[in-house]
Every structure is written in C-alpha cells, then in structure tokens.
C-alpha cells in the first residue's frame, strides 16, 4: 500500500516472561476508520503502546507515512485510555487541550495566540468550548473523553491512534465521536482505535484488525468479521504458541540464540 499511514512489521512484545504479541504485521489504508479488536488480554492496547514507543518492542518496527515515528511526530496523535490519567490533577480543560500543541514547541516556548485559537477550535469541534475553564475533576466520563479528543485534534495530525475512546461514555458522547470521525475522514485523516465492543465494530468502522496475541485477520469489516475469524479470535489462545514463546522468554533463549 503506497503511502500507508501506518505499516507494522513483525512486532513481538512481551510482559515480563509472558508473550503478549507474536509476529504481528499489517498495513492500513488512508482516510478510513480502523478498529483493533480482540478479547481481554489479547494485546490490543499493548500493540498501540508498542507502536507509539511507550512500551518496548522485542523486535519489529512501526513505519509512519514511510518513515520512523521520530521523523513524523507532528503527523501522529495518540489518545491514551482515560483511566490512565490523573483526573485529580490541578488543571482546567483549556490547559489540557493546549498540551496538544506542546509537541510542536521547544521546552522553553510558551503557547502562542495561534495555538490558543487552534485549541479553542478543537474544543468547539467536540462541543466542549463552554467548559474550557472547568477543572477536569468536575467532568463526567464522556466529557473527559471529549477533552482528550480535543487535545488530539489540536495536534492537527494526519493519523490518530486512540485507546478505547468509547469505553464508559454516554450515548451523546458516542454519537459526537462518530460524527467527529466522519469529519476527519472527509479531510483525509486516518483513525485507528482499540475497540472493545464487538456489537458496534461493524457499524462504526470501515476496517477491522483482529488480534489475539497474534494477527488473526486484517481487512474491511465485511471481509474480516466472519464466523471463522471470530472463533479464532475469541476462542482462546493458541496454547502451544503461548507456552513455547513463554519458555523462550523465560530461558532467555532468544537472546542466547542471537549471539
């Protein structure tokens, strides 16, 4: 796929001795909404974190618009899971969204008035402009999620990677997020989400990536969401693969072998 926003090559990841992902490779098309789906513990969030460099990769790489992440930071926006943030932090909505502009700034630089306008526009897009002076611990779950999305929008990226944006949000927020996705797609942006709800996947997303400690399938929603594929995804782990990869890590064989 030419100029694919994201190409993942042979990513292996682990947590202590447990294999989390084995040899995952895929590439995604531009201007589509793509869901990463799989059961709990299948490695979906870990995959996203590995791609963004938040967790170490055992091996493999992620290529963004043909280049490494470091060279294409400005084109990629990451939205972490809501529960990973400290919502007691003394900060208001506007300041959170402004953080999205920090990526473009050196450490001594302050946000300019242009940055502030961009932040306000982003808040407007998620219908949160009225809340800009609110403390974040006064917000509901859905509102918090929208603030995070606004922050990502403020980055003005071309590729958006989001970790469970629909988790624990109310119906209004859900609709707002879907509309936002449509707007972004129209502007040729690409959106990749870790998604937990099998029921809504086909409805909300164009493409689906099925993961269960390894890649099961990748392609358009119609192609991928077959009974066979879903059985493979949700039908438990490949025990042999799991056991052997775990032994591989536990005995440090992978390091020993490559010497």
């Amino acid at each position: 796929m030419k100029n694919s926003p994201l190409v993942v090559k042979h990513i292996n990841m682990r947590y202590q001795h447990n294999p989390v992902l084995t040899d995952v490779s895929f590439s995604i098309p531009e201007a589509k909404t793509i869901a990463i789906v799989g059961p709990n513990g299948s490695g979906k969030s870990t995959l996203l974190k590995g791609i963004m460099g938040l967790e170490p990769l055992m091996s493999g790489a992620a290529v963004f618009f043909g280049d490494s992440l470091d060279k294409k930071r400005l084109a990629v926006a990451y939205v972490p899971q809501r529960e990973e943030s400290d919502w007691d932090f003394p900060i208001n909505v506007m300041d959170v969204v402004l953080m999205g502009r920090h990526g473009q700034l050196k450490f001594w630089q302050r946000p300019t008035s242009t940055d502030k306008k961009i932040a306000e526009q982003a808040l407007e897009q998620v219908s949160m402009l009225n809340f800009k002076a609110r403390q974040i611990n006064e917000l509901s779950g859905g509102q918090q999620q929208r603030v995070f999305l606004a922050r990502a929008l403020a980055q003005q990226a071309s590729l958006y990677l989001m970790d469970e944006p629909f988790a624990g949000v109310d119906v209004t927020t859900e609709k707002a997020i879907i509309n936002l996705f449509a707007e972004l797609k129209a502007k040729n942006k690409t959106i990749v989400c870790v998604h937990h709800d099998l029921n809504t996947v086909g409805e909300y997303f164009d493409w689906v990536i099925l993961i269960n400690a390894r890649l099961i399938a990748v392609g358009s929603a119609e192609e991928v969401l077959t009974v066979e594929n879903l059985n493979k995804t949700y039908g438990g782990r490949l025990s042999l693969l799991n056991d052997l990869t775990e032994r591989l890590y536990r005995t440090n064989l992978d390091k020993v072998h490559d010497e």
């Binding site: 042979h10 007691d88 052997l244 591989l248 440090n252 064989l253 992978d254």
Partner: protein, 465 residues
C-alpha cells in the same frame, strides 16, 4: 589527622570484648543478644506478611509515628518504665496508621503521599517533644534520643524482658494464624468469598506489625526499623517461593543480623546498633540476590551459559542434517546421513566462528554424537545417535514452521527464524501435539522440504512387529 583513625575496631581491645561477649560472661550482654535475635526473627516474619500484602514501607511510617507517643508517655507519667513507653508508642503508632488510611479515603491525597505525611509529621512532633524534654529537669531522659538510631547497649534488663516476651508472643500468634494469613496474602478474593472475617484478620495483622515495630525501636531506632521488616523477606524470596520456607529464611536472616549487630554493639558501645543491623541485612540481601541457587543472578547466568552451549550443539547437528540432505542421494531410498563434511562446509551453511565451531564439535564428539575424529578439519560425520538427534531436531523445526504458517497465519518466508529458536525447546509431547493440531498431515515444511520420520519411532515399531 590520619584518615585511618576510624579503623580502631581492629585493635586488640576489641578482640577481647568479642571473646567476652561469646563466653556469655556478661549477663546483660547475653540478654541483649537474646532480645536482638528475637527481635530480628519476629520483625522479619511479620514484615514478610506486610511485604506480601504490598505494604512494604508501612513499617517505616509506623516506626516514625511511634516517636511522639513515647515522648508524651514520658512527659505524662514522668517515668521511662518500659511498659509505659511501650503502650505510648503503640497508641501513637496506631494514630499514624489511622491517619495514613484516612487521608487517601477522604481527600485527594494519594496513599504514597499520605504515608510520607504521616511519617514526617509524627517524627517532627516527636522531635519537638524530645527537645522540650531535654530542656526539662527529669531523670531518665537521656535514653530517649537513643531511639532514633537504636542503642542495644543502653537497654535495661526490664526493657529486654518486655521485648523478648512480646517478640515470642508475636511469633506464637503468627504460628496460630498462619493458615489464615497465608490465604489472605495469596488469594484475598478467595478468602473473602470463603467468608473470612477480614476486619478481624486485618486488625490482628496491624497489631502485630505495630507491636513488632515498637519493640524494635530501642535496638534499631525509628529511622531504620523499616529495613528490618522489609529486607529479610526480600532476600528470602531469592531462596524459595514456598511461603513457609520464605518465612523461615527471612527469620534466619533477621536473627543473624540481630546477632551480629548485638555483637558489634557490645564491642563498640558508642556506635548505634541500628545502622549495623541494616548494613548486615543489606549485605545478606546482596548475597542472596547474587548467589541463591535457582533464583540468584549467578545461577541464572550459569543456566544461560549451559543453554547457550546446548543451542550451539543442536544447531550444528541440524546443519549436518541439512548438509546431508543437500548431498546427492541414491534415488528412492531413505536419506543417508553418513556423509562427511569439512569445517568450511559447515561454516558456509551456518554463520559461526571457527573457534566456536571447533569447541562445539569437540563437545559433540565427547557426547558421542559425531564419529570420533582426532583433529577434525574434514571428515566430520554424524554417529548413529547423532543421526537420531539430528532427525528429531529437524522434525521439530519443520513441524513448527508448519504450525506457524497454518495456525498463526505467518508467511512462509518469515517462519524460519522463529523455528530456529523454538526447535530447542519443543518436548516430545509438544511435538506430537503439533502433529495432531495441524490441519493437513503434510510431510513437507512450508519451503517444500521433507519432514523425516523419527528413527526412535521406527525402532519402536520394528520392536513391536
């Protein structure tokens, strides 16, 4: 001034004190020894439970929290009777425990900050009271500042009796409640589901922790008491995962550190006991970390080294198989594996250094897997047993490649690297499992190469028939 002046410990006077100590001539010193050892054992045992409940530094906060209680008891009752101080400390410690739990539940303040707040506030209060006391004209106030770093030599017999009594009580209580504590430590939810009275056991555990902290204060001091609860179990973990063994080891480590620090305290009464106990504990921890069998660092490095050698040997065996396979074979017969190859042949097929290859071949020779050759440069050949193993390894490698392509959806060109590693790990059982799980019982691997049949199985079959 000479820097080495500090090393007065090595002077002859100290040796004499050492012998005196161990001949138990000095009754008080013997009591100190007994008390310190008991303290070491009880604190490390109860500290193990705190550690397992993920509350390692609770002992630190509780120790600091005890200080004002001691001071207030002294001011109120104008006595340094051990019992009075003991209860003062316990009360104050529990106040600290309460504060530490209350703050995170009712305010934004997080548990780690709550612990630090409790620790420092109570300590400041204790220090303030201490400085106040030191301005007063009361007898017996001089022992109080020894509680900061501990001074075993300054303890009176009554202190030691109380300490020993309490330490033994703690140990007995742990033994009585051992089964329940163990279940709660390892499987909290299950314990709750079984209807355990969690409040009761938490309270008992809290009392035991507070008590062991308080009795340790005179010997180890407020600042370092945390280490006596925490370090022994951390070191014990390297020796065993079994709870009883861990507790026993922790107790031994705690006891030994008590023994040595009591000894030092006798020989150098001007030195505080607490730091020495902690230093001994830390040394024991480092030794455990490095040298424990199974889990220690050196043990792991050794295991890895052995694995490295095994991997190299098996790699060469498989290379010999592959080289045999590539050689022109008589048609329509089983593959012959008795061709000879040179070092160069092997090195062309698998990237390995000359020195390493020669060493590996030597080991293979010793194990009887290649035919005995004096100074092999050429004519390296598999023995019968070597052929068996080479075949088995190849089976595992190629079966795993099939598994990866069929069940894990990995492309044929990518599977070789993984299989290279996994072939060393597959057991007989797992190999059979793979054969069963594969959809089509193919006789070829993803690259079209033939999967041989195990000679061991053939031998078994021919025995049966």
């Amino acid at each position: 001034m000479n820097k080495l002046q500090g090393f007065e410990l090595l002077e002859p006077g100290y040796w004499q004190l050492f012998i005196e100590f161990w001949s138990f001539v000095d009754v008080n010193a013997t009591w100190v020894l007994v008390g310190t050892v008991l303290l070491g054992i009880s604190a490390s045992v109860i500290g193990s439970f705190a550690f397992l409940r993920k509350r390692s530094l609770m002992g630190d906060a509780l120790a600091h929290a005890a200080l004002p209680g001691v001071m207030i008891a002294f001011i109120l009752f104008q006595t340094n009777s051990p019992l009075v101080m003991f209860f003062g400390a316990i009360f104050s410690s529990f106040m600290g425990l309460f504060l530490m739990s209350w703050l995170p539940k009712n305010t934004k303040i997080k548990p780690d900050a709550a612990m630090a707040i409790t620790l420092s506030f109570f300590f400041a209060l204790g220090m303030m009271l201490l400085s106040y006391i030191q301005g007063l004209e009361i007898a017996g106030k001089s022992g109080l500042d020894k509680m900061l770093f501990g001074q075993a030599a300054a303890m009176l017999p009554s202190d030691l009796y109380l300490l020993s009594f309490v330490a033994v009580t703690i140990l007995i209580t742990v033994i009585i409640f051992f089964q329940k504590f163990r279940l709660i430590a390892f499987n909290l939810v299950y314990a709750q589901a079984l209807g355990f009275n969690m409040v009761l056991y938490e309270t008992i555990l809290a009392i035991l922790i507070v008590t062991s902290v308080v009795i340790g204060l005179q010997i180890v001091g407020v600042v370092l008491m945390a280490a006596v609860l925490l370090t022994p179990v951390a070191a014990a973990r390297f020796w065993s995962k079994n709870l009883s063994t861990m507790l026993f080891t922790a107790g031994v480590i705690g006891g030994v550190s008590g023994l040595i620090s009591a000894n030092i305290s006798y020989m150098a009464p001007a030195m505080p006991t607490g730091p020495w106990m902690v230093v001994v504990l830390s040394v024991l921890f480092i030794l455990s970390f490095l040298f424990a069998p199974e889990r220690g660092l050196f043990s792991n490095l050794n295991k890895q080294h052995k694995l490295r050698l095994k991997v190299r040997e098996e790699n060469i065996l498989r290379t010999l198989y592959v080289l045999n396979e590539r050689t022109l074979q008589p048609a329509n017969q089983e593959i012959q594996l008795n061709y000879s190859f040179s070092l160069e042949d092997i090195m062309k097929s698998r990237s390995v250094g000359l020195g390493e290859l020669q060493q590996t071949l030597k080991r293979l020779c010793v194990k009887g897997l290649i035919v005995n050759m004096p100074s092999q440069q050429i004519d390296i050949k598999l023995s019968e047993r070597g052929m068996d193993q080479a075949i088995d390894l190849t089976i595992r490698h190629r079966l795993w490649e099939n598994y990866l392509t069929q069940k894990v959806n990995i492309d044929a060109e990518d599977v070789h690297g993984q299989a290279e590693k996994v072939e060393h790990l597959l057991t007989e059982e797992q190999t059979q499992q793979i054969e069963q799980e594969l959809i089509n019982q193919s006789t070829k691997d993803p690259h079209g190469k033939l999967i041989p049949v195990s000679r061991k199985i053939k031998k078994e079959l021919s025995h049966d028939s």
